[in-house]
């Protein structure tokens, strides 16, 4: 009972073979076991989106995912986006648009934007708002974030 489980996951294209207790969330695994602290913990109950990561192409709040559930999955965190010394175009767009203040929401915002643009390359404003509903920002007032998403669309063309 309650023993550790072995999981094999790929995080940002690096393979990991790990032993985890079933009550370890994916968020805690990333932050504390793998040291990937770009993924933030805000509410710990699915409301804020700060802990958003991409699992097999889909955005999820990692605070509501158990590590044992994602055995075999490919996971992308904010640390996996840059290419060498270059920021990912979506990261660059957030910088250029001034869409970052304290930065706490930013990793989640950028990953959700990535999932959006992977799905819809040129989204309407309504589509952007619907997709980003689960990412809260206490600083920017969202206008600059919308600008950043639109800028990213241009940069990715």
């Amino acid at each position: 009972m309650e023993s550790k489980h072995r999981i094999q996951i790929t995080v940002n294209e690096e393979e990991h073979d790990l032993l985890v207790h079933p009550n370890r969330t994916l968020l805690d695994l990333l932050r504390y076991d793998l040291g990937l602290t770009g993924t933030k913990e805000g509410c710990d109950e699915g409301d804020c989106g700060a802990c958003t990561v991409i699992v097999n192409g889909k955005v999820m709040t990692s605070c509501l995912v158990l590590a044992v559930e994602v055995d075999g999955a490919a996971i992308t965190t904010i640390e996996g986006l840059h290419q060498g010394d270059e920021l990912h175009p979506i990261q660059q767009a957030f910088v250029d648009s001034g869409a970052v203040q304290c930065g706490f929401c930013t990793p989640g915002m950028i990953l959700t934007t990535k999932a959006l643009l992977d799905e819809i390359s040129d989204p309407s404003e309504d589509e952007i708002k619907h997709y980003l509903e689960g990412n809260l920002c206490r600083c920017t007032g969202y206008t600059k974030i919308l600008d950043a998403v639109n800028n990213a669309v241009q940069l990715l063309k």
Binding site: E2, P22, G46, G49, T52, V59, L64, E69, A115
Partner: protein, 288 residues
């Protein structure tokens, strides 16, 4: 979260066996309700049985009617081209649940089994006269969704039963539907009042062949507004009759007052939203 064991059965029989063999077992679907309960110690499973390893349990099948596997995610319901084409009100209701991150995890079966009176999938599926198929220790069992909910966060499901499939009858394809969710925020919140209406009417004469009206968040469980439906069925939908039915629906609601809204406000909302919903269906250019 407290410690617990984790099992991921590869088929339904093993899932049922695991339910019977373990102490304090809980079924795990998307976990978006369950993990919240576990984090607050409201529920303390000793063993989680993850249903996501059962092949085919997240399917969307269409054969005039729909068969939806219980583990189909709310996001898959939202974006399914077949659902958008044949029964768009279901896709619209799905789009109102939580956020994209939640919808990618949350399942329709979990939404029903959690038993919240405000569950978005519950109201729309109740209006669609769905049937549920359960796997149990003694074989399969079928029942109407109207028999399923027993009170706030409770259903008829026994500990050794698993919801396997949700069946939407083929007649539903000829209805136009609407889902209205009213709340202080447009996103990321459960509704103060949810209304689902399915209407089969002759648009030119305004004659109502059949209507189904489900109300969410205004009673201990999602309910059908039977009196309102009876007033409208096989009648011409005049503004006066619609108003009368909207008032009947409001009388059928038995909401509570809580921090989200008072009971009186909820009853007024039911009246307004039922009338508005019927009007919107009758006046929609693009039938849905």
């Amino acid at each position: 979260m407290k410690r617990f064991d984790y099992i991921r059965p590869g088929n339904m029989a093993d899932a049922i066996a695991a339910l019977q063999a373990n102490d304090e077992p809980y079924l795990l679907a998307g976990g978006t309700d369950l993990l919240i309960g576990m984090k607050t110690n409201a529920v303390k499973p000793k063993c989680l049985i993850d249903l996501k390893g059962i092949p085919g349990i997240d399917c969307i099948e269409y054969d005039n009617g729909f068969k939806l596997g219980a583990l189909t995610t709310v996001r898959d319901v939202e974006v399914s081209p077949l659902i958008r084409e044949k029964i768009p009100a279901l896709s619209e209701a799905a789009a109102t649940l939580g956020s994209i991150q939640i919808r990618n995890r949350a399942t329709i079966g979990g939404n029903l089994c959690h038993g919240s009176p405000a569950a978005d999938m519950a109201a729309i599926l109740l209006a669609m006269n769905c049937e549920l198929q359960m796997a149990t220790g003694n074989g399969a069992k079928t029942m109407g969704l109207d028999q399923f909910f027993t009170g706030p966060n409770s259903t008829v499901l026994n500990r050794n039963e698993v919801l396997a499939q949700i069946i939407i009858p083929k007649e539903i394809g000829q209805f136009k539907g609407i889902y209205l969710k009213h709340g202080p925020r447009k996103a990321m919140d459960i509704g103060i009042v949810n209304i689902a209406i399915l209407l089969d009417a002759d648009v030119s004469s305004g004659f109502c062949n059949q209507i189904m009206i489900a109300l969410g968040a205004v009673a201990p469980r999602p309910i059908r507004a039977k009196k309102a439906e009876a007033l409208l069925n096989a009648n011409r939908l005049t503004p006066e009759l619609i108003q009368e039915a909207a008032e009947a629906a409001s009388d059928e609601a038995t909401p509570i007052s809580d921090f989200r809204a008072s009971a009186g406000y909820r009853k007024d909302l039911v009246k307004n939203l039922v009338a508005k919903g019927i009007d919107q269906i009758l006046n929609s250019k693009d039938p849905s």
